[in-house]
Symmetry: C2
Subunit: 262 residues, 2 copies
DNA sequence: AAGATTGTTCCATTATTTGGAACTGAGTTT
DNA sequence: AAACTCAGTTCCAAATAATGGAACAATCTT
């Protein structure tokens, strides 16, 4: 069996199973056996057993038409993850305050690798269905929260992320090269504020501030987002102090809560 | 290595990893290594590696104080699971209609083994934070949606669930023996409506109707829930037709959508 | 500072996974 | 209807990864 010459920390069987799970769960349509086979590159027998195991465990579901879809056990596990996340719980009231101050949608996102994972969202009209954003992952380099978070990393950690990062253009404004991103991050480091000027989704702008704990174990961001037709640069600038203040307040509360416990 | 004499379908390594993940993720407080060791019953070395792998995969997180907490990757996976669930998507508008008709909280839950997993929820005031219920799992035998779903099973499937089912008393009204549950299910089968009269949470009542597809591959329920001080038996009876109608409408829409596709 | 407890590493033994090939069954074409 | 394809499933010797006991290191406690 071909050995991975390029070796990082291997999680053996579990890692392979998770890779399969992720390709199926994050695809945007149901995949059939052959679809998975094509992308996974594994031998048929092996893949078949892996998928069977995932189905038996309830992580995937095999519909009668042989299509694999994400299973319900994922929901069950994630619900616990969300409910018990201390960071989210601490931040929640501040997010709501920020929402009341600005009247627009507020996001809380955490950096995981090269992605921002949205932990919470507060919005006025819940025209978009509840939950739509929570748990979603977006690339860090083209979102407000993401750039704010990146700006808080030390050089080593940032380098690790930049290395081999592939830029994808989502809109005409998306940053698509390393140099521009570094310049932008330097600016953000100076001001403590990151903007997303329709870089990820056309018509969507936002102001964000970074959230970092002392040991940089937690790197995250808060943002206020609004539609471009209603939110100009002036408006973003006006919101900036509020966002920065919310970020600072969350981190103070967090260290106050975590400090005394030990 | 001791072989499991009592053998069901084994998912090998993955199954063991998931068992560990679940004990940690579903615990109601962070567990340290020794806590997990005590419940898992596995040798130290083994458990340590399993936990390390789970952490490396982002399914668990190891905080600086050596406490394991559910990881963010779970959220990411679950968000996909939720967003892509076709059943949920089809049901959503009907749930909202039911909410408008009754003014109270509406739930959609799917049976998975002996548990109901809540797929969606529509409520007026979102005093309780968004998402609080989605993905949550409750025992089927003491919830409205759960009993409705159980009533739709055939004898074989029901027997499998009842076998070795442990009844836990949540309130004075909780059903705590097999015979009473069977009587109750027979009644539900007759009327097509299940009630939860404060059997799971004190002060909470609900009316539910079963949702089953032709092959019983999908067994679920819809419900309207309200606080006991405001919702009497009369009110539940009045809601029943609406709930039943919503259930029927969802299944019709679902078969209409799934039918033509193949 | 000694002792107890908790967390981490090591490595020969043992179980599980691997992957090629052979098999089944459904759907299509001649 | 028979021959052909293609998707999905099963099998088993060889290769790999998991196991678990024990030694080790780092913490707390007394």
């Amino acid at each position: 069996m071909a050995a991975e010459t390029e070796g990082e920390g291997g999680t053996g069987t579990l890692g392979k199973a998770m890779a399969v799970l992720e390709t199926v769960a994050l695809a945007d349509r149901p995949m059939r056996f052959t679809d998975v086979l094509a992308v996974s590159g594994q031998p048929r027998g092996t893949l078949h057993r892996q998928l069977s195991h995932l189905v038996q465990e309830g992580l995937l579901e095999l519909r009668p038409d042989h299509a694999y879809v994400p299973g319900l056990r994922l929901l069950k596990l994630a619900s616990a993850s969300w409910a018990r996340n201390e960071f989210r719980a601490v931040a929640a009231p501040f997010l709501e305050a920020l929402h009341r101050q600005t009247g627009e949608t507020v996001h809380l996102g955490v950096l995981r690798g090269r992605e921002i994972i949205y932990l919470d969202k507060v919005e006025s009209r819940q025209a978009v269905r509840m939950n739509s954003q929570i748990g979603n992952a977006s690339p860090a380099y083209c979102t407000g929260v993401g750039k704010a978070a990146l700006s808080a990393l030390d050089d080593g950690a940032l380098e690790t992320i930049l290395e081999g990062l592939e830029f994808r253009r989502f809109t005409p404004q998306t940053i698509t090269d390393r140099a521009s991103l570094l310049t932008e991050l330097a600016a953000i480091r100076g001001s403590g504020i990151a903007f997303d000027r329709e870089e990820h989704e056309p018509g969507i702008r936002c102001v964000a501030a970074p959230l970092v704990d002392a040991g940089r174990a937690l790197v995250a961001g808060v943002s206020v987002t609004g539609p471009a037709y209603r939110v100009g640069q002036q408006q973003l600038d006006d919101w900036a102090p509020h966002v920065r203040r919310a970020a600072r307040a969350i981190m103070e509360e967090l260290s106050a809560r975590l400090g005394p416990q030990r």
